[in-house]
Amino acid sequence: MADDEIKEENEGSKWSNYLAIAFLLTAYITAVVNVIIVKKNEVVSEAGKGGRVVIRMTHWQLEAGVRQVIDEKAREFEKVYKEQTGVEVKVVQNPINEKAYRQYVQTQCIGGTAPDLIQIGMYDKDYTRRFFRATNEYVTRPNPYNKGTDLEGVAWADTFYDGLNGALDAETLEYYGAGLSMVTVRLFYNKEILREVFGTDAPPKDFRQFLKMCEDLRAWAKKNDMTGFVPIAGSKYQLNFFEKRYTSPLTFDLMFKADLSYSGALDKMETALAYIDGIYSLDSNQIEVSHKAVREITKQFPVGFMAMQRMDAGFAFTRRKSAFIASGVWDANGYIQNADFPVGVCDFPLPTKEDKEFGRFLAGPLSEASVGISMQFGVTKFSQHPDIAMHFLMYLTSRKVNEELNRDFKWLPAIKGAKVYGVMTNFKPTSDGFWGSDFFTGGSYSQAAYEQSLWEYVEHKTTYDQYKEELSKNLPKAYALDLQRAFQTTLERRLVLDATFSFNLGVARYATEWDLPAAEGVKLSETAKLRQRYLWESRISNLVEVYYQEYFKNLLEKGNKMAQKVLSLMTQNPFAEEE
């Protein structure tokens, strides 16, 4: 190669090198400037000293409309708060997918970088206690944003439908945050398809009619060559709603026997003990029939629905690939917005008392009287401005704002007297009916064993006998591990309770002698005395768990073979220390 050519080539490569460096430098400088601008806008100087305060909130509600409406309300709050206090506030939302939410919150909390407001849930209660601020001082005061309404002067807690019970930690007697909405679950349906096939858009009245409608829909789809149409849009997510709605009313008698604490619900220890003691088994008629009811429903689901996601089902419904779908109020807005047909909402059609197969086991509809307040937010201990964060929460839970908020993202308001609009009236909780509880929820190991066996059963790949055989093989070990863990946590909870109890006892007895203004000391002492009463209740509830242990030991002493098997399957003997 001639020298000139080499020189020319080198010069060419030099230029391209300079170009690449210039490009990289530009990108780097742009990024740095961008970060500086964002920091300047968001990061915080001290409130009240002329700086802008940033309040960050994290939640997993990615449903249609929620983020937009919260954003609108946040902008309103920023104005209101500035007018009232002169402090400039900026509320920043950080929604996280529910699949990653638990990990996100756990890592942020442990790392000490959690946002100011976090939606509570999906992680251990222990996290709330450790990383969230108790909000007791706020709940007894009126919500300032209710000024001018009949809720003015009413304690903040009393403005909620549930009296903020959902935010109360019964073991430490501390309140953590507050919720924005109530949620219930319903069956959504495509009115247009129903009208076309049945001549009316009336929803099914009972279980048999529902199944018949599904069969008719299937035949109609086949006749019209509608490939991929199934009567009910489904995924594993949707299955949970049908399970809850059909299992609990059909197993009420068993639940009543298994409910050792008479709490009206089963916890993991009760279900394990009921299985060990033979109160329920997979041979029980009620258990078999309730499984059958769910399987009848899943017959109308798409093939392979257990490997599908919630969004797949929603997409199938709004694209007319299905006539029905089950979900909660949180999906109402998305379905109504995305569907180009009128969407109807009804309750789950239950079997009638006359139904030959299911009727004799049916206790009645499932009551929603105990539906609590959801979408609960708490203020973390990492918040630099907890008071402002609490004010934002109070703003969102003032009657007017809460009504507008829920009207716009189509949920149910959490505040007393807030109106419910349009289609949302179908979601109002019904208090009539029985309470109920599942047999396979609670313990993580038993839940996993159940889910893994259920997968093929509800997809009609195994018979009930095969399902039973497989699950029976795995349940003893699963219950062993669940019980082992529960016995450990019982002890830990008892220690927490005793510590709180002792602390309150000390405050009740000595607060008046502390170096405080007299009135404050008396107030502290009185509050502590009041709390003692509730703590006793918690202590007693903990004693119930101790009773479970005694129940298990009693079964061992009686020579119950399943109890012995379960003990032998535990990896550590939970009673070793006691002995």
Partner: protein, 436 residues
Amino acid sequence: MPKVISFKQIRYRWPVYLFILPSLFLICVFSYYPAINAIYHSFYRWNGSAIEDFIGLDNFRDLLGWSPTLWTVLAVWICLMMMALTGKPGWAKGWAKWALCGFVTLVGAIIFGAVGEISLSSATEATILGLSAADAASWITVSMVSVIGAILLNIVWNNGFTNAIKVLGVVFGTLWFFDLSMQNTGDKILWYGFAVIFLLVVANVVKMIPSIIAAVFIHRLKNEKAQYIYRVLFVVPMIIPAMVYLLVWKFFYDPNQGVLNIILYRTGLIDLLIWIDGIFHWGVFVEGRPPSWLGDAKLVLPSLIFWGFPWVGVVGVLLYLAGLSSISEDVYEAADLDGVNWFQKFTKIELPLILTQVRINLIMMVIATLKTYGQILIILGDSGGPKGVALVPGLYMFKNAFVEGYAGKACAIGLVLFVFILILTEVNNRYVRVEK
């Protein structure tokens, strides 16, 4: 040879050390600290936040079982593998080898077996000197059988067996251990997960072949422009986010609208599959019911293995191409003169000369497969699919840490995983030799 710097010289060479300090600091903070922290927490009952109780080896005994049988077998196998892998060092020769073998067996049995046995048996039955008679008998028998087994194996080992046989010995020994574990009290889910991973590793080794073939084809292209275009075409998919790739494949397997089922039905292949199913009674290909590739316990693993077909990995192809491009033209010319055909060129020239790259890829693949869980978590959830069929150790670790709240146990699973990765990497380094 790197130059050795004595301590005295450090004060003259301090700028060199100053330059490596930032990297060293970052590695310590982001790599070593978490690893050490995980080791620390594996001895705790820890929920990731408040609850933190020292429980010694309980997490490991939960995972590996409390039976002395397993621990003895494991101790012997670790001992043998150490001897096999370390090979020549003097300490592993002669009587010292047997002393080591006995020592590891004894210590393993005492630590892992005795502690567990005593604490467990004391609550349920009468004991003699802290041990039930049955346990003591079991111990003695197992220890004797293990030691005799070890002696026999060692005799066989030192008598002309090739490295391949040794590797097979280690693999079958490990499988034997799995088998024992699955029959005993250890964490069956974990051992099942390792069996799944073993299957995936074997499948992934096969799945490396198309990448090698693709790289050779591109390398042999005469037209340099065409070669360049192909290289670019292989780089482009690297910028596609992994999530998109995953969703495409998920849609491919969709039972109702997925491409795979559409192909099967349009070509009539499904009838053939139904016919074969009728012979073997799998129960997965049934008339009038499209196969649910990711929803059927029997189809999940084959689907995961088929995932990514035709398995031409981008990184792999580029890596092999780099290796192939370093082969001198002279070698090919000499081969042509010797009358070497196209296939012999591959087996005698190209494959041996890219074995370094194959080895690197193999190590990376084994490590990545052992650690894999993200893809399975997204497509099948944290339960690992129907019957937990794809609950691999990585996913099980994630589930324990973030779903169950057993962060301490998750750390212990991580350590077990680490040991397996270390052993396999060492086996790879030692036995997948590059002899150019």
